[in-house]
Structures are given as C-alpha cells and as structure tokens.
Symmetry: C2
Subunit: 287 residues, 2 copies
Amino acid sequence: MNPTVETTLTQTVLERFAGCPDARFKTIMNSLVTHLHAFVRDVRLTDDEWMQAIQYLTAVGKKCTDTRQEFILHSDLLGVSSLVLEINHPPHAASLESAVLGPFYLEDAPARPLGADLTDGMPGEPAFYSGCVTDTAGRPIAGATLDIWSADGAGFYDVQLPGPLVKRGRGKIMTDADGRYWFRSVKPADYPVPTDGPGGVMLQKLGRTPDRPGHLHLIVAAPGYTAVVTQIFVADSKFLDNDAVFGVKKSLAAKFERHAPGRAPNGEQMNVPYCTVQFDMRLLAAA
Amino acid sequence: MNPTVETTLTQTVLERFAGCPDARFKTIMNSLVTHLHAFVRDVRLTDDEWMQAIQYLTAVGKKCTDTRQEFILHSDLLGVSSLVLEINHPPHAASLESAVLGPFYLEDAPARPLGADLTDGMPGEPAFYSGCVTDTAGRPIAGATLDIWSADGAGFYDVQLPGPLVKRGRGKIMTDADGRYWFRSVKPADYPVPTDGPGGVMLQKLGRTPDRPGHLHLIVAAPGYTAVVTQIFVADSKFLDNDAVFGVKKSLAAKFERHAPGRAPNGEQMNVPYCTVQFDMRLLAAA
C-alpha cells in the first residue's frame, strides 16, 4: 500500500521551503508547520472545527486595536508569553527572577527622589516598599535604577482610565550608597484580564478564571549588571497559585504586612491602615 | 537541581484546563498548547520573534473582510487545509479523490440540461468535458448530480469581478441513464493566490511561488453514494507539481486535449481551437 497523503503531506510542505534564503526563518517555519500538522493529526480536527478555528482567529484579529492586543492576551493565557520569557531570560539561582513586561509599561516615567510617593493621588491602600539591591554575593549596588509601575487599588493602570493620560503610580528611583531603596505607592489590587473579547470566551469554555494576583512591575538596572524585568506579587492574594497568565514565581511573592493607623516607616503619620513590603533583589554581573 | 519553569510550564498550563466541561474542547486545547509550547522551545523563539509573530497574526486578522479570508489562505499555504481534508475525507482506492472546496463555491448554482454551455460568455478557450459516473465496480450511476464551478480563461471567478455578481461558469447537471455526463465550459487558467496581504509577504520570504494550476471544481453526489467535493486539474499546467496550496492529486489531473477549429463533440462548428476533457468518476456506496 502506498503512503497516504496524510502521512506524506508535511514533508511535501517542508520541501517547498527549500529555496528560503533566510536560514532562521526557514528553521522557524519548518518547526511551525511540523507542529501545526502534528496538532491537526493528533486531534483529528474536523471540517467544522477547522472552520471554527478560522473564525476564532479572525475574531481575535478584529478585536485588536492600537490599545488592545488580543493576540498577546492569548499568548499570555496559553502560557506562551511566560515560556518565551523563560527561554530568553532563564533564571539564575542566585539572582532576581524575571516576569513579563506586560502591556502597560511607559518608557518615560519621571525620575523621583528616594522615598518618593509615586501614587500622585492614586486610590488604594498605602504601601511602603523597601529593600536592598545587591550583587549575587550580597554586596550592595549603589545607583541601581528601579523603574516602577503598577495598577491602583482598584486594579486599573493610569493608561486604562478614560480621558487624557495622567501618569500615576510610575517613577524611576535610585538606590543609595548602601544599595538601599524605599518608596511609597499602593498595594496593587488583583484584577481580571479583559474578558469582553474572544479570550474571555475561551477562558469560560475552559472553565478558567480570568484573575491575576496584584503585582507591582519594575525594571531593575545598574551599570555592569544584567537588567531584570520583573514583578513583585502580593503573597496573600487568593490568585497567587492561579494567575490567569502564568506569571507568578514563588521568589517574587512578597508579604504585604498590614499595620494599624500610626507612624509609617518614612515618619509620616497615617490616619488609615497601611502596608509595608520588604523585598531584596540580587543582580547578575553583565556577561 | 530543581526542574526549571521552562520544563514544567506546559504541564502547569494543561492542569489549568482540568475544569473544562467540554471533553472535546479540552482534548483540542491540550494538544494545541502542547504543540505550541514544543514549537517555541524547539526554535528557542526570541523576544523579537515573538513580537513579530504577534504583529504578523494581527496583520492577517486585519486583512480579513467579508470577501477575503487571509487565515484560510494561510491554512491553505501551509498545507493545513489539505491535511484536514485528508483526515476527514480519506481516499478510497477505488473511488474519486477529494480536493478542497475553496472560497468560491455558491450553493445556488442553476440546474442546466445535459450538454449545456456553462460559460455564459465567460472568456477562455472552449472546453468540452465528458465522462461517466459509476460505482466502484464500474456500474453506471444514473441521475448523479455534478455541481460545477471554475475560474475563467484569465483565472478569475465570477465572484471576484468588480460590480454586482453575474454568475458564470456555474451549473448543476445530471448524468443520463448510462451514467454519462457532458457539458461545455472553458479551460480554467492557472492563477496566483492573493499576494497583496501577509500571505504574499510570507511566500516571498519563503522563496515560494503563489501559483495554482488551472482546475475545475465540482461536487459529485448521487442518492445512496458518498458525495465528493473535488477538482479536475489541468494536467499540462506548469504548476501541477508546485501548487501553492498543496491541492493537486495525480488521480485528479486530466488531459485537456487541444483541437484545431472544426466540429466539436456536441456537433457545434468551432471557429477557434478548443479542448476536450475525458474524466470518469467512481463513487463509494454510502456507509
């Protein structure tokens, strides 16, 4: 019996890439077609399911705008974004782990003095962050930059609010001579990923929840060290083990210790409860 | 050493599907994520390549309209459509092979008498098609329906022409008491797939050609037999072994025999050269 088209088709397609002048693109497309065909064969995809897949991908594309990226959301929800992060920024046992950049980073956050209040009136439970940036041997790194951004206490980033952008919860601060940093912001709230598009339909069909645990984004950089894009997660969030986008790492979970109204670490008199967060970070010397 | 997130992440994502109430959907998503992650790991996809992939998929989505399906084009160009066809309509040695339906089928083609001229003034070299529809033992099937459509001699389907749709090159005919059919149309031209979108960019980057060999579409159906969606390919097309969408099967290639002006098979006096095509079809009894 002759081999069937089903068994030979993948090779036929790969042979058609023989003339591809870009070796890297050829490698990628070879692998993509091999895995795509294997998927179709594995599940014995039906005609109807194929058409549903086409219509689904089209709907994802139609949902994308200048301010909404539904394909990135799907990459996040299926763990692909986290996988790409692991491959390109593998963890080093002695240093700070990475987390995804996410869609809400702005490059031109204002420089702020050490100890600054980054909230600019942003709602949320006050939180005083502090810690030390060191090398992997624990030696302090002076002048390390922390580029910080986060959602507010309701789970919204400044760029998500209606009207013209008013930057809040963002700032760049620098460690002191002893590698220490401290600043005030809020305890970032848990929030759901956008569910008003195909991604929400997919989550529902999968019986999954859309929630992310609260987290503060930061990029830590210092001359002579490998910069790290990461997040500090609220350790007591009920979504810590169930992050919709698979971004949590245990080493990035920090305790948000709650205090009654009183004198805060910066000497300020607080009339409301507030949190303190202690989080040290180790950087790897640049290669 | 602990297992890395890179190695455990796929399983973490699959475990999140545990509550999916739809067993078939769960199977499909399990396989999709497994293969998607394997692809990313195999090629060590970089951050930049990931972003290019996101932007590419978005561009494919943006190119889709009511009359243009760029995702289906990509499914065709990567051999996925043909693979789905093979899985769902596997060949049976003794019967007519399948080919993809394509995007130009209209359900309400007019019924025409045996021998009809389907062209309605469509440009192209005249072609007289004939043959016999039988069961797999070669016994004629009377009253089998051939639902026929094709491009014209310039490679365009009626639905692709500007202005309101005027149906051409379409019709349903029925075999006679001896299972025979015959009709007049044109020799369908080779034509390229649309290259003014991302699909064209991809073909160029892969060093591939966009051309399809000329072909006549038809759906053959008869009571008590399994209907077949298929195409008759022009055997002497220079793209027969290089179809951009991997649709050609050897058993579906038919000789378009060219004749000098003179008396055609239907008795008509032809003032221009014309073709004759002989193509018999065997149907499998319905299961």
